[in-house]
């Protein structure tokens, strides 16, 4: 299947117990793919949470995913940010690199180039923090691998459309 595409979908939901299980259950139950999923409350007064899910599929499957999400009772709105085009996508990465000597210096140098911040350091380790597009994070991780990478933690993608329009 050559027409499988990656889509970033934003879902606004009631922040009630079980709502995330509903969304995840929908994906597993119907055999859809989840590449990443992030969730947090975005409006405490209205008790609304926003889920950003990155998935992939043929146009017909993506259309189904959106219709199935929209059908869930606690779902307020579903937007395909990929189809709407001009969206901004960002991810936060924490990466731990352990080592001493030349490798340690090289990792710090590369972190500067990538504009990663050091948020923890010991004599034999760094924790770097970096925000950016998925590809940039991927590239940084690959560079850290031979330099003593021991642990990676990523948030998954959050995204928002450009321009004045809101979800």
């Amino acid at each position: 299947m050559s027409d499988i595409r990656r889509h970033t979908i934003a879902v606004l939901v009631d922040n009630e117990p079980g709502v995330l299980a509903r969304v995840i259950g929908l994906f597993s139950g119907r055999g859809y793919n989840i590449e990443s999923l992030t969730v947090a409350e975005v409006d405490a007064a209205e008790r609304l949470s926003r889920i950003t899910v990155v998935t992939s599929g043929t146009p017909m499957v993506i259309e189904q995913i959106k219709a199935q999400l929209d059908r869930l009772v606690p779902v307020h709105a579903v937007r395909d940010l990929t189809l709407e085009g001009r969206a901004v996508e960002r991810e936060l990465l924490l990466v731990k690199v352990a080592g001493t000597g030349e490798k340690r210096i090289e990792s710090l140098r590369l972190a500067e180039i990538f504009r990663a911040r050091v948020i923890d350091s010991t004599i034999e380790s760094f924790v770097f923090e970096m925000t950016g597009a998925v590809e940039k994070l991927d590239a940084f991780i690959e560079l850290m691998r031979p330099l003593g990478l021991v642990e990676v933690s990523r948030t998954g993608v959050v995204a928002i459309s450009r321009g004045a329009n809101a979800l």
Partner: protein, 586 residues
């Protein structure tokens, strides 16, 4: 806090009364005792005690489908809830509005593996339209009203309300239904006028049109069926119905082509294959209907009317989707057709009907008659003949008997045919018939059953006795799980693995044991007399109709085949082996 505040259990009853509920189906247990106590103290809501929680849900489904109202179920925690899961899944697949209350262990024990604890909202999440766990008694009434709204709105479905026992005891504030509205859930009812106009454009130009309608028309209410009938007659187009849609268009009408799909009529399936404009209304392109998707109605423009946007383009890509209620959309199409003074292409339509007439002439439901052995089709035909002119509700179990009933019984109006279409639940028919009979005490209610299916919920004979429900159980007993055997014959070299109904009970004695009347026919000349006696008996009856053990259900579209590759009878079989892709399909 005042003495007048009702407790949670009383709030449940009050909310049910305000929702217009007069009957609930249930089974008591430790975690719902406060609600049973509240039931004891009132006379507005009648409780029907079933013998198994699965049957409570099926009974509520039968009640809902024959009345158009929401069916209500009450079961206890743990096993009560898990036993209800099959019924809930059945209602989800067939879009039946159900509200099911499940007891739950007290809130402070949730998660502690308490006695009869189950994660009910977790278990029922994928098999309900929505579910709730109510931890605050002040939210209870609101939740119940919301649950009824969700269950019956849009595409209907089952909703579970899980109620911890301490919430049932706690005093709280009652909120009347008028004060409750859902924050966001507003299904689109009215169709887009532009889409309606585009549909009429397509219909006007159609050379070989076909209406393909389903359960959505019935769920929309009897008016939708009346509008469908009007539109079909106004346009002069042919109409076929799905298993779930039977009754949405009068079966005796010459424009009706019969049911379509795997065991549908030859003319309906070939018309689907050959049509150039398909008007699908409240039908969901189920795999039992479409057969091989790559060969499905290859030359057609497809209009799809559905209230559920996720039904659109799910299995089959359609050309013109219309989101809306079936009744509202039918009305809009009819109004647009009349406003334009639209006319069908008469010459093309005439040729189309001529072609359909040729397909019809094959008489696809014909079977080899016998003077000695009772053919199952014959038994259903005689049953139909004997019940014509009476208000008759038919329920079925699942298997060959279900298909014969669907093929040979003619339904003239909606809400008179209840069968488990989507989930295919053996054991559905008897409890469903119970629910129908409760809703229609004076009507004739018949469960057309198989000897294997009926044993899956046979305990409900006891419920029939308790409430004096004169349901007729009409068993086509061929001593086989007939549909399983048919597939084994067709696909597995006639190796009949575990499909023989061994050690069957004596159904006549069984009826007697349950306080019902048992009748049996083994010869053709006994059939009419047994049916007559069954119909004249004002009590529950089990008929053991001992039919031909070898008969198979035809016509049939084998798995993986297209509509125009139907098997019309046993003789067709040898010539058309089932493809390898077809073998893996169910």
């Amino acid at each position: 806090m005042t003495d007048q505040q009702p407790n949670g259990a009383e709030i449940v009853i009050k909310a049910l009364v305000d929702q217009g509920v007069d009957v609930i189906f249930g089974y008591p247990g430790g975690a719902v005792l406060p609600i049973y106590d509240a039931i004891f103290k009132q006379n507005h809501v009648k409780h029907i005690l079933v013998r198994h929680e699965q049957a409570a849900v099926h009974a509520a489904e039968g009640y809902a489908r024959s009345t158009g109202k929401v069916g209500v179920v009450l079961v206890t925690s743990g096993p009560g809830a898990t036993n209800a899961v099959t019924g809930l899944t059945d209602a989800l697949m067939d879009s039946i509005p159900i509200v099911c209350f499940t007891g739950q262990v007290p809130t402070h024990l949730i998660g502690n593996d308490a006695f009869q604890e189950a994660d009910t909202t977790g278990i029922t999440r994928p098999c309900t339209k929505h579910n709730y766990l109510v931890k605050d008694v002040d939210a209870l009434a609101r939740t119940i009203h919301e649950a009824f709204y969700v269950a019956r709105s849009g595409r209907p479905g089952p909703v579970v309300i899980d109620l911890p026992k301490d919430v049932q005891f706690a005093p709280g504030t009652y909120t009347p239904p008028e004060a409750v509205s859902h924050r966001t859930y507003r299904p689109q009812m009215m169709p887009d006028p532009k889409a309606v106009a585009a549909a009429v454009d397509l219909m006007e130009q159609a050379k070989r049109p076909l209406f393909y309608c389903g359960g959505g028309v019935i769920n929309s209410g009897p008016r939708a069926s009346a509008l469908l009938t009007e539109l079909v007659r106004t346009t002069g187009f042919p109409c076929t119905l799905t298993l779930m849609g039977l009754g949405a268009y009068p079966a005796s009408d010459p424009q009706f082509l019969g049911m379509l799909g795997m065991h549908g009529s030859y003319e309906a399936n070939l018309a689907m294959h050959g049509c150039d404009v398909m008007i699908a209304i409240g039908s969901r392109f189920d795999d039992r209907v479409t057969g091989n998707l790559s060969k499905f109605a290859p030359h057609s423009k497809k209009i799809h009317v559905d209230i559920d946007p996720s039904s659109i383009n799910k299995n089959v890509r359609v050309d013109l989707p219309i989101i809306g209620d079936a009744g509202a959309t039918l009305e809009a199409i009819l109004a647009e057709w009349r406003r334009r003074r639209a006319k069908a292409d008469d010459r093309a339509l005439k040729a189309w009907w001529k072609q359909i007439g040729e397909w019809r002439a094959r008489e696809c439901f014909r079977y080899e008659r016998s003077e000695t052995i009772i053919k199952p089709q014959y038994a259903v035909e005689r049953l139909y003949a004997a019940t014509r002119g009476r208000e008759t509700f038919i329920t079925t179990e699942v298997g060959q008997h279900q298909m014969w009933a669907a093929q040979l019984f003619k339904f003239e109006q909606p809400n008179h045919w209840m069968t488990s279409g989507g989930l295919g639940t053996m054991g559905y028919g008897l409890p469903a018939a119970m629910g129908v009979q409760i809703a229609h005490p004076d009507a004739l209610v018949i469960d057309i059953a198989g000897e294997a299916s009926i044993l899956m919920n046979i305990q409900e004979m006891s419920t029939l006795a308790q409430y004096r429900l004169p349901v007729k159980v009409f068993i086509l007993n061929n001593q086989w799980m007939g549909m399983v055997r048919q597939w084994q014959e067709l696909l597995h070299g006639a190796r009949y693995s575990e499909s023989y109904s061994d050690s069957l009970p004596d159904f006549v004695k069984l009826a007697d044991a349950f306080g019902a009347v048992g009748l049996r026919a083994t010869r053709v000349d006994e059939v009419d007399a047994v049916i007559k006696e069954m119909l004249e008996t004002p009590r529950p009856v089990i008929v053991d109709m001992c039919v031909d053990q070898k008969e198979n259900c035809f016509p049939m579209i084998p798995s993986g085949a297209a509509h125009n590759e139907m098997l019309l009878g046993p003789a067709d079989r040898a010539e058309r082996p089932v493809s390898e892709e077809g073998m893996v399909l169910v």
